[in-house]
Amino acid sequence: SSYPYLRSPPSSSRFYFFMKWALQSPPPASRIFNHNIYILPTQYPMSHRRRGVGAARAGAKAYTKKAEEMNAVSLARAMETVEKLEVKLEGFAKTHKHEIQHDPAFRAKFLEMCAPLGVDPLSAEKGFWGNMLGIGEFYYELSVKVAEVCLASRSRNGGIIRVSEVKDILTQRGTKFKFADSKNKSSYSEEDIVTSVKKLSKLGSGFRTVEVGKSMMIVSVPEELDDDHMKVMDLAEENRCGAYGVVTVKGVTAELGWDHDRAKRALELLLGKGMAWLDAVGAEKYYWFPR
């Protein structure tokens, strides 16, 4: 039978069909292994039943051995299936190379598919995935650009920046990538940026992503932001005035239920790190978080 997904438009159903097709021919012996592994004594020759208790114990040993054998065969079968799947995956990637390289939504789904199979198309520089798809290179390029933006903005925001802002800056710059079309400037998504930062953090660079409220942020400073600071930044995210988040000591004590000292300490520390700026209006003090 032909591949139904080749003719249908890009959608998640394509992946469903792929998986269904890839798994359509289970190994013939699998029927046995789907059920309980232990073989019932009745399936052994009648001579076993006539023996006494000691014989039963010896029988039990034989059952365990058989069970292990069947476990091993089951495992081998499973691995065979996985290998088959990998081959199918490689074929799929070859056929849909263009979409994977140029369509961020498609690419995200594809990576989702690879993950449970233990296939990481991003890490292999050489070999099938690196050479054929080259998306490892794409993420490498992207992570370098993301790092540039983060480092350039560090003096402004103290080393923490929203993923959406990084994307805006890169889009404004008209940054071109190996696979970016001239017509489709944003052929990389926020998800791609997050993935590339994950790659960066694996290299031990101190870059990492962190969720603050509903936004995903990239932190590029090695200092640990503890829970209190994250909570304050959460609050600031929720209390945006225009493009900036803002809080007061009073606001923090009211919303988070802390005492005055704790609130002040957290805000002073964020000020000290350069992540917040002070706005003194008369006797009032506002703490702003720059974009």
Partner: protein, 180 residues
């Protein structure tokens, strides 16, 4: 009486960030902030070709859109930093109310002038101070329309570097410069 800001002037993003109008207590952040103020003051006066900043007439200290302004002390701090950086000079160092804005630092002007002289073949020949700021050859150069006082400063630097010599003319504009 404060001057009004023409609509054509494009304000940078940080001008609408309220903390910009509070001198930051954290020194590292303050450094960045003062850098931003220097940049703003210089660009404003250079773009609009304003030669002197009169403290109490300058419209930059207040942003009515976000209801923020610098206090008198904060203005002093910003201006002292500005002058220290070499982009401005007090006309009245005692009272410090009028500041001459050096659109380009004399050293920068000096090297610009010399480069222009070399590329236009003025080496070993003479041109006047007037030609430097209003001549036909200087279109687009940084010293076009520059203050004579400023030009003299730049030329003084070139003289001390041995790259030119000044001759007295009938009027100060007709002073001659010979480039080496």
């Amino acid at each position: 009486m404060t001057a009004t800001i023409p609509d054509s002037f494009k304000f940078p993003d940080f001008y609408n960030f309220p903390p910009f109008f509070t001198i930051q207590p954290v020194l590292a952040t303050r450094e960045k902030q003062l850098g931003q103020w220097r940049e703003l003051i210089l660009r404003y006066h250079t773009d609009l070709k304003i030669k002197t900043l009169v403290l109490h007439e300058c419209p930059l200290w207040k942003n009515p859109k976000i209801e923020r302004e610098l206090t008198g002390d904060e203005i002093r701090l910003v201006m002292d930093d500005f002058v220290t950086s070499g982009h401005g000079e007090w006309e009245d160092p005692q009272t410090r109310t009028r500041c001459r804005i050096l659109w380009r630092k004399p050293e920068q002007l000096a090297s610009d002038i010399y480069d222009w002289a070399v590329s236009n073949g003025y080496v070993n020949s003479v041109c006047t101070v007037f030609e430097l700021h209003s001549g036909e050859d200087v279109n687009g150069m940084s010293f076009q329309g520059a203050d004579e006082e400023l030009l003299r400063r730049a030329l003084g630097i070139l003289e001390s570097q041995g790259k030119c010599a000044l001759f007295r003319g009938d009027t100060s504009s007709e002073d001659g410069i010979k480039f080496f």
